[in-house]
Amino acid sequence: MHLDHPHDGPSAVSADARRPDGRRRALRIGLGGPVGSGKTATVAALCRALRAELSLAVVTNDIYTREDAEFLLREAVLPPERITAVETGACPHTAIRDDISANLEAVEDLEDAVGPLDLILVESGGDNLTATFSRGLVDAQIFVIDVAGGDDIPRKGGPGVTTADLLVVNKTDLAPYVGSDLGRMASDAKAQRAELPVVFQSLRGEDGVRDVSAWVRARLAAWTACA
């Protein structure tokens, strides 16, 4: 996705694949999606699933300072020095798309402080359906929606649903209670996304994050193979 280019300056500018010392940096995966869809829960589940095999860190972009970071700390999914909160000035989408400088600082600081890292998960603040990550910040992005938000969201499309590298439809266990039609969501998503993958998950079940963590592992293998 990002071509390596020769690097003789003192530090990376944005998407450069190598760190100033020439080592390949960590893969960065963004998780976006509307408020309450389960981004933070997915990040927590991914950390639990991957932390034994990978060197991981998380950047959160909260609307109100450190709420999501605090949740991850309370859940103790990672040691505290591996979780950083970026403040977004009431505009979380700006911090992941239009002006990514604070997030780039955060990911580089994490690599300096606790690196080397294999993977950094960048979670967006709960925002609207149009919020996507800049390609200058992340190498791949996951868009998380949930069945309770309405089964017409895939049909409505929007940049997150349409272009994310992985679409996650979360809380499938709630579908019978909120009257969401999973089959319809799947066919609408297919229509919007063509060959881009979609995962239906419920984090209530055993190893509910299995499909997403498998996808992350595959991305990481491809990233490492480029080195």
Binding site: G9, S11, V13, T65
Partner: protein, 224 residues
């Protein structure tokens, strides 16, 4: 100088992290000292003539080629609040990143390598102005404008203030912005002969006090 380059640099959408900072407005709103357009104007005017003047002078001096490390130390001495010093350096790093992507220059690379922890943002702004082919006046204008533009935008978000009212505040401050930019450039030229002590040291006690209070809040919308 290129007027177009100045517009690129002064654009509030220039991706250097400013959007997450309120310039002290969030704390002043919480304290009940900014409640609408009139008090926003008074706040912005006070910030312009204190922190804004100092920033504009630092930026102008850096644009004139004054040693950036001397300017960075002068900025430290004029910024008692450690929270504000940390913010200035973080924004300096963010601006340096944007600077090196937009107007690549060996001088910027060298400074970035020498100061990996970052320098005060106005110093970087002056260096960036140089790299963009702009002059001391342009750097001073950018810094002065930023000192009031940030709080105005933040207040729109914090108070749901009518954006037309907030922008009208900035328009009313324009003549004072001109004077501050002029004073800043005069001071920066004196620095060439008299050293960094010729820089203004105008201070705002409540900005300093509130910055520390704000940094300790458990929940806030803006980073400063």
């Amino acid at each position: 100088m290129s007027r177009s380059a100045l517009l690129v640099l002064a654009d509030g959408r220039f991706p250097a992290g400013g959007h997450a900072h309120s310039g002290g407005a969030e704390a002043a709103v919480r304290a009940g000292r900014i409640t609408g357009a009139a008090s926003l104007e008074d706040f912005a005017r006070g910030r312009l003539h204190t922190a804004g003047l100092v920033s504009a002078s630092l930026a102008a001096a850096a644009a004139l080629g004054v040693d950036p490390s001397a300017l960075d130390a002068a900025a430290d001495a004029r910024t008692p609040s450690p929270a504000l010093r940390a913010v200035a350096r973080r924004l300096g790093r963010q601006l340096m990143r944007a600077a090196r992507a937009t107007w690549p220059s060996p001088e910027l690379d060298a400074v970035a390598a020498e100061f990996p922890k970052g320098m005060h943002q106005p110093v970087v702004l002056g260096l960036l102005a140089r790299a963009a082919g702009l002059g001391a006046v342009d750097a001073a204008y950018c810094a002065a404008y930023e000192s009031v533009g940030g709080p105005a935008t933040a207040t729109v978000r914090l108070l749901s203030l009518d954006p037309f009212d907030a922008t009208a505040v900035l328009a009313r401050l324009a003549p004072e912005l001109d004077r501050v930019a002029d004073r800043a450039v005069e001071a920066a030229r004196r620095v060439l002969d008299d050293g960094v002590e010729a820089l203004p040291a105008a201070s705002a006690p409540l900005l300093e006090i509130d910055a520390e209070a704000h940094a300790a809040w458990p929940a806030r919308l803006f980073a400063s």
